[in-house]
């Protein structure tokens, strides 16, 4: 298999394996997996509003996983995108409801840039500096920073400074001047999709068509060589984690300004983690990220209809997602079994040879 084919085939195999294993678990539990999957598909793509909602759900995934992909390309694992997403949403919300007199063409960029900066500082500055200067592993630091961010978010809303008057842990609504317009009525699809598509193009161009992107990838591919070639590896570590946080922060703000319009305690249901799965499945390719995001968003929007039509709990999609990541991580499995198969075939033919002689 060529490298390109492998990049396409292995994720596809992982998805198929995930769906089959999910089906087996449903079947054992007494459900009809085929009907459940048909309901899932209908729920995701059955009518224009469902399609729009599926694409809308892909927007924060696209933005966040683009960031994770940049980190992966630099050899860094940003596992804390969930927190950067929260921080972006928090800052986006705060700017969104605090300056209602600004015209929209200033208010929207203001909120977006604020969220991007905050996400970048959260993801880049502390974990980046810690990694670059004392070698603290970014998996742990970004994860810990992520939990801190989410707790700060809850603090802000539960009788904290961002709580709206009343008893519910929620912020005030963002002002109309900071709201991204909805494209299809009765759906969640907002103009945020244009931001997501623009981000895909920008990240693609930066990664593959600029010296900066080339350096980022070199640091990821071989940090020693990058160092000997005179690149400032610690600086690129900070850049990479920072950009990763910038995009996750943007994702959070776009979700608030396009869909939720206010921050609530239940703001994210693990988008930051699903985004890691998206990047893994897309093998950190910005264009493949679009399709992988739509796929995972479809699983999530479709699972609601699946529950109504066939009674399968929507948590089934987490099971499927878990299996998919497992098989993406175990990419050597296929060559492992091929090797085994060859060995047994060889042993068998050798045995035959013995019996013949």
């Amino acid at each position: 298999m060529s490298k390109r084919m492998q990049n396409l085939m292995l994720p596809l195999l992982a998805v198929i394996t995930g769906l089959i294993l999910g089906g087996i678990i449903m079947w054992i539990s007494g459900y009809k997996p085929i009907n459940a999957y048909i309901a899932l598909f209908q729920g995701a793509f059955g009518n224009p509003v469902f399609i729009a909602n599926t694409i809308a759900g892909a927007i924060p995934l696209i933005l966040t996983s683009l960031g994770i992909a940049i980190a992966f390309r630099t050899g860094l694992f940003n596992i804390g995108a969930e927190g950067q997403y929260w921080i972006g949403a928090m800052v986006g919300t705060w700017i969104g409801y605090n300056f209602p007199h600004l015209p929209w063409y200033i208010h929207i960029p203001f909120a977006l840039i604020g969220a991007m900066l905050a996400g970048g500082i959260w993801g880049g500055l502390i974990p980046g500096l810690a990694k670059a200067f004392v070698g603290a592993h970014e998996v742990i630091t970004t994860m810990m920073m992520s939990y801190i961010a989410i707790l700060i978010g809850h603090f802000m809303l539960e009788r904290g400074p961002m709580m709206a008057p009343g008893y519910n842990p929620q912020s005030p609504l963002v002002s109309p001047t900071a709201t991204l317009p909805t494209l299809i009525s009765n759906s969640n699809l907002s103009a945020g999709i244009f931001i997501a598509i623009a981000a895909i193009i920008v990240v693609y161009l930066v990664l593959f068509h600029t010296t900066f992107g080339y350096r980022l990838r070199t640091v990821g591919y071989n940090p020693m060589a990058a160092k000997y070639a005179g690149m400032n590896v610690p600086l690129f570590t900070i850049y990479s984690l920072g950009l990763s946080g910038v995009l996750a922060g943007l994702g959070g703000a776009v979700q608030i300004m396009g869909v939720d319009h206010q921050l609530t305690d239940t703001f994210s249901s693990g988008y930051g983690y699903t985004a890691i799965v998206v990047s893994l499945l897309a093998r950190n390719n910005p264009i493949a990220i679009f399709f992988a995001s739509v796929f995972f968003s479809a699983l999530s929007t479709g699972s609601q209809v699946m529950q109504i039509n066939s009674g399968v709990s929507p948590n089934m999609t987490d099971v499927i997602t878990g299996v998919i990541i497992f098989f993406v991580a175990t990419d050597k499995l296929y060559s492992y079994f091929r090797g085994r198969f060859r060995r047994t075939a060889k042993a068998q033919s050798e045995q035959k040879g013995v019996s013949l002689s």
Binding site: I25, A130, V139, M144, Y147, L151, D318, V323, A329
Partner: protein, 310 residues
């Protein structure tokens, strides 16, 4: 006496500290066993959930909490093999495997709860692991209120930490485990079976995390709820790092984090945000990793796949 004085002089605070610390210490100890052999384990959260669910399920159907404990521990061990096998045999990325297990376990246990028990949740008649009363200790003032009457798993945890320390630092097998985690090539050269040791470390670790889950579901309560670990697996991860990958260090960190939780419960009535106190474990872990107070360092080969030469 001031409010703080009242809160801090109450022995119940320290009793509940110990109770809160137990799942964290068990998870951290499990992680220590895994990572000392060089397999990064961020899957404690998922393993705990699996242990918690199957613990309740077995306890409810057999009407014995002990059967539940056994089932939860075995289930924890089994799911940890999904980390061990690809990590050891296929040189897969251990962090990604851990993520996969966490997601899979959260989905599976929620799905099974819904499918097996429906909206009513797990049976009310599910037996609970007993509280023990230690005869003499219980009569000592203050100390008795802290240590004298706890769930059986709390005592089991203390025992496991002591045995774990002795095992890792004073036995041959423990030395081999640490050698494999520091320098697998060298260990291999002197005839240590790297693959088998790593399986062993992850498996024992998984069983301990399973026990942590059992404690949550049929120790503290007698039911299972969706995502009932509530991030404790990650705090256990933090405790393991803050405790510098040692059993006693893990226990110490778990006690500190458990104390923070217990204090935040006590102070909630006085308007102190539990969310802000909850930040403590995570902030301390970053501090520990960046070396402000004695840098915490992972085993040298932690997370590095090892391909045995044939």
């Amino acid at each position: 006496m001031s409010v703080l004085g009242l809160v801090f002089s109450n022995p119940e605070l320290y009793g509940s500290t110990l109770a809160m610390a137990t799942p964290l210490a068990l998870g951290a100890l499990g992680g220590t066993f895994s990572e000392r052999t060089g397999v990064v384990n961020i899957a404690m959260e998922g393993i705990m959930l699996v242990g918690a669910f199957f613990g309740v399920m077995a306890a409810a159907s057999s009407h014995s909490a002990w059967v539940g404990l056994l089932a939860g521990v075995v289930a924890g061990g089994l799911i940890s093999l999904a980390l061990a096998w690809p990590a050891v045999r296929l040189q897969s990325d251990q962090v990604i495997l851990g993520m996969a297990i966490n997601l899979f376990a959260a989905g599976l246990t929620a799905f099974l709860l819904n499918t097996v028990y429906g909206f009513g949740g797990t049976p009310i008649s599910t037996p609970q692991l007993p509280q023990l009363t230690i005869p003499i200790l219980n009569n000592i003032p203050f100390l008795g209120a802290v240590l004298g009457q706890q769930n059986v798993v709390v005592y089991l945890m203390i025992l496991l930490v002591i045995i774990g320390h002795f095992f890792l630092f004073h036995t041959n097998l423990g030395l081999r485990m640490r050698a494999v985690g520091e320098h697998p090539e060298a260990a291999d050269t002197v005839g240590i079976n790297v693959v088998r040791i790593r399986y062993f470390g992850v498996l024992i670790g998984g069983m301990m995390s399973g026990l942590a889950g059992v404690y949550l579901s049929i120790g503290m309560l007698n039911s299972f709820e969706v995502n009932m670990t509530d991030g404790r697996g990650y705090i256990a991860l933090a405790a393991m790092i803050f405790g510098k990958w040692t059993p006693f260090g893990s226990l110490g960190a778990a006690l500190l984090f458990g104390f923070a939780t217990a204090v935040s419960f006590s102070l909630q009535n006085y308007g102190v945000s539990a969310n802000l106190i909850g930040i403590l474990p995570y902030a301390l872990t970053i501090v520990a990793l960046t070396g402000v107070i004695g840098r915490s360092k992972a085993p040298a080969a932690d997370g590095l796949p090892y391909e045995p030469s044939k």
